[in-house]
């Protein structure tokens, strides 16, 4: 753990022998969260045969990766990453993914539902719910099964969405990958029950207790690389009411006059047809943090998929979505 290094990195000089002074009276919230997440990461690696980290390329994944580096240092990260590629991710995300993971020397597995993509699955044709079901949930379950992973780390946080607020840190899934919110294992102290039966698995959320602000703050302190889509710049967008829809896929067609250059950024990264941008001047991480402190809408308000029906995230989660 970074100990005082986080809070006082610039203020605390290195001793001559290279050790950092750490005379702190109390830990701040980021140090406490980091210690908890590292404990969770190590516990899973110690208790499971074949863990994997779901890697979405987003900011939460970036933080999770850094925590994994810290948890096992000086040993390398002892599990592969799995990216579920829907085929509709932004080009900038894929470039970032390939470069960053090879830089870190971690093993990356990319999984796509090729069959559905060959059939022309896209959100315009199928609607967001069916499209997500095939390209995300189905692909994820197939990918986990094909590799026999018994534990999968996800970057979900409890503050993101109501149904996630009661998710466990070790979230049990039956042999078909389903979540039963009424039959969850009680989770006390930091004693995680890691026992599973044949073909059952666990989803693990090391960032459960982090908020969006904590994530950005940590990215800033740790100088963690992020996909440039998070930073504001002039981009080509379809402007429709309050919504800014990225122009990446040919099936996303605007009406005359809708397509404009707008200074904007993405608050969370998903598939390009279903992830709206927000107007913003925040072109640095500190400015994103300032924007966040002032903003009045929740992070997933720009996700078209969460609103497709009442309680829709909970339904997706029951079916196996992260």
């Amino acid at each position: 753990m970074t100990a005082t290094a986080i809070a006082d990195r610039s203020a605390v000089p290195l001793h001559e022998d290279g050790k950092r002074a750490t005379a702190v009276d109390r830990f701040n919230h980021i140090q406490l969260l980091e210690a908890e997440s590292i404990h969770i990461l190590r516990e899973v690696v110690a208790e499971f045969q074949n863990p994997v980290m779901l890697y979405s390329i987003g900011k939460d994944s970036s933080v999770m990766l850094r925590l994994a580096q810290k948890a096992f240092y000086p040993a390398p990260i002892p599990f592969p990453l799995l990216h579920v590629d829907t085929g509709y991710k932004f080009d900038e995300m894929l470039e970032f993914r390939d470069r960053y993971t090879s830089e870190l020397g971690v093993k990356l597995i990319v999984w796509r539902n090729e069959e559905a993509l060959a059939d022309g699955a896209n959100p315009v044709r199928l609607g967001t719910q069916r499209c997500c079901g095939l390209l995300k949930t189905q692909a994820l379950l197939d990918g986990l099964r094909a590799h026999g992973f018994d534990a999968a780390f996800g970057g979900a946080r409890r503050d993101e969405e109501k149904s996630r607020a009661k998710e466990r840190i070790f979230s049990f899934r039956d042999s078909t990958g389903q979540w039963d919110p009424k039959n969850q294992r009680p989770e006390l102290w930091n004693l995680f029950n890691a026992r599973i039966g044949l073909r059952e698995s666990i989803r693990v959320f090391p960032l459960s207790n982090w908020t969006e602000l904590d994530i950005w703050h940590y990215i800033h302190l740790e100088k963690i690389p992020i996909v440039p889509l998070y930073l504001a710049k002039e981009r080509r967008m379809l402007v429709r009411g309050d919504s800014l829809i990225p122009v990446e896929q040919s099936f996303v067609q605007g009406l005359p006059g809708e397509e404009q250059w707008v200074k904007c950024r993405l608050r969370s990264l998903g598939c390009s047809p279903c992830t709206g941008a927000i107007r913003s001047d925040a072109d640095t991480v500190p400015k994103i943090i300032a924007e966040l402190m002032a903003v009045r809408n929740s992070e997933r308000a720009n996700r078209i998929i969460d609103h497709d029906q009442d309680g829709s995230m909970e339904i997706k989660k029951r079916e196996g979505y992260f």
């Binding site: 406490l32 190590r42 240092y73 109501k162 006390l188 930091n190 029950n193």
Partner: protein
């Protein structure tokens, strides 16, 4: 150039960094001064608990506009709806599980574990309370202390929450009367004394109208204390109250190359510095800490609850489940203790049953030796019983197959807590808090010291058969096998306290490797008589000596 460097480089070119960033940096300094307080709330459906949390979040400006819009009907905000969770509950109009909420103020960050007050959901309340620094118990000002108030306070006390805040709610319906508050306050003080709650603070509030939630109420000038939020912002964290020697359960051994053997874990209690004398348990060997290694560099000092990697002066094989502890103030080493157990499984807990027990980083077999009593959490009385049903709490004597390195829950929450797992369905069946340790380190049963052993016999079938039958007459687990290429697995079995007799077609001496993970040693045996080998096993502490009646726990 790496990604991180590239992004920094862009910033350095002035493309991004400017005065605004510098000003934001100042704000972030303040943000970094905040610590993190966890509190639990419990209350029944009409106590107004959801309303209270909704009001707390709304008045402290921690709710997003889109969430408020979603619960506003006819220009009135339904505060309870702000915090209600899953779909099924929305339909039933109740909260059914533990939901976690996050908010922050200028002084602190908070995590709320919001738990239901229903009788059948004691387990959820205990779950929420297990990590809490503070518990908020709701009291309806019209009704005063009810069964459920006592239940919540009792669970908070059993789970060792140092501070309980009693929010006396619906004061608006009692005309903000000081007499009403004073009456409830006296009753609550008596309750706190009875339950041995170190600190119980009553606050008169109206969640619906916002009195004394975030802002001090103008309508109760007689109340001179802080608002609910004011209290939450100033109460010390539970971890700052803990005073125990170093407790470092080993989670995982890191061995990236020949020259580095590090022990990864989260400090459960105490402080550690390079040079400190420590003891590795259960092996008991003493050494000094060489370094505290982290990704961010080596540390001069680390303390609970940091996650670090320790390296030691002496090269010893310590594995997961063992503990590195203060040599001068080590934990108890116990195989028999009394615990307060919260039962969470549909199948009742009965004496004689066996479960898996997880304590720090080790999982062992546990035998329920005795059920001493059930605690009636509503009338605060203990009654004799022979079983604990779902949502019962009671005092239970537990025996374990291997020693736990433990403290009482009062001494240390993280080394005094455990969970019981049903090995048939893998459910978390119960949660326990160690109350008292009935076998001191010296009187620990011989089982505790039996390390098990792997004996490589080669082609000696008669000797193998003789040893097997001799050992079958004792309480020792015996495994005779001809499996090849599985030495590591067989050693792991030996570490459970078993004697593994490994036969093969090869010739060579009889080798005996003790299963003691702390000090595994291989001995070449000169004598090849069964009795000589059995004596050697006893001498090395690989099997119990003397009266085997003490060893019932090995079953």
């Amino acid at each position: 150039m790496s990604f991180a460097e590239e992004q920094l480089d862009a910033a350095a070119r002035g493309m991004a960094v400017d005065d605004l960033d510098a000003r934001i940096e100042e704000q972030l300094e303040a943000e970094r001064g905040k610590d993190l307080l966890r509190f639990s709330t419990a209350g029944s459906v009409d106590d107004g608990k959801s309303t209270l949390i909704g009001r707390l979040l709304y008045d402290s400006r921690n709710v997003y506009d889109d969430h408020v819009r979603a619960v506003t009907r006819d220009a009135a905000i339904d505060f309870a709806q702000l915090t209600d969770g899953l779909r099924a509950e929305r339909e039933q109009g109740i909260t059914i599980d533990v939901a976690y909420r996050y908010f922050s103020t200028a002084k602190r960050k908070f995590i709320i574990a919001d738990t239901p007050g229903h009788e059948q959901y004691t387990r959820n309340m205990a779950t929420g309370a297990s990590t809490a620094d503070v518990a908020i118990v709701l009291v309806d000002a019209r009704k005063g202390i009810l069964d459920q108030t006592r239940r919540h306070a009792c669970i908070a006390s059993l789970l060792g929450i140092p501070t309980v805040i009693a929010a006396i709610n619906k004061m608006d319906l009692m005309e903000f009367s000081q007499e009403v508050f004073e009456q409830h306050r006296r009753d609550l003080e008596a309750l706190a004394q009875r339950l041995e709650i170190p600190e119980l603070i009553p606050v008169p509030v109206s969640a619906l109208e916002g009195d004394n939630i975030v802002h001090r109420s103008q309508r109760m000038p007689w109340y001179t204390g802080q608002s609910l939020l004011g209290l939450l912002e100033t109460v010390p964290l539970a971890i700052e109250r803990a005073h125990a020697g170093l407790r470092f359960p080993v989670q995982r051994v890191l061995r990236p190359h020949q020259d580095f053997r590090g022990f990864a874990g989260q400090i459960a209690a105490g402080t550690v510095r390079p040079g400190d004398e420590v003891v590795a348990l259960p092996s008991g060997f003493r050494t000094r800490v060489r370094s505290i290694s982290t990704w961010d560099g080596e540390l001069d000092v680390a303390r609970a609850p940091q996650s670090v990697v320790l390296t030691l002066e002496d090269e010893r094989d310590i594995s997961r489940g063992e503990m590195i502890a203060s040599a001068s103030a080590p934990p108890h080493r116990t195989t028999r203790f009394e615990a307060t157990v919260v039962w969470m499984h549909a199948t009742p807990l009965r004496a004689g049953a066996t479960y898996l027990l997880k304590h720090t980083s080790q999982t062992v077999r546990a035998h329920v030796a005795e059920i001493r009593s059930r605690i009636d959490v509503e009338h605060l009385e203990e009654r004799g019983t022979d079983q604990l049903a779902l949502n019962d709490i009671g005092r239970v004597v537990i025996e374990t197959s291997r020693p736990l390195l433990a403290d009482t829950y009062r001494e240390s929450r993280s080394t005094g807590s455990l969970i019981l797992i049903d090995s048939a369905d893998n459910a978390t069946a119960g949660a326990g808090m160690i109350r008292s340790i009935t076998d001191a380190a010296e009187t620990t049963t011989t089982v505790a010291q039996a390390s098990g052993a792997l004996i490589t016999l080669g082609a000696r079938p008669h000797l193998a058969a003789e040893l097997e039958s001799a050992l079958l007459g004792t309480n020792v687990l015996v495994l005779r096998t001809r499996a090849r290429g599985v030495r590591a697995e067989l050693l792991a079995v030996a570490r459970l306290g078993a004697v593994v007799l490994a036969e093969s077609d090869t010739s060579g001496p009889v080798l005996l490797t003790t299963g003691d993970a702390g000090a595994a040693e291989t001995h070449v045996l000169a004598g090849e008589q069964a009795t000589e080998i059995l004596n050697e096993l006893q001498r090395l502490g690989a099997i119990p000596t003397g009266d085997t009646d003490d060893d019932a726990v090995t079953r």
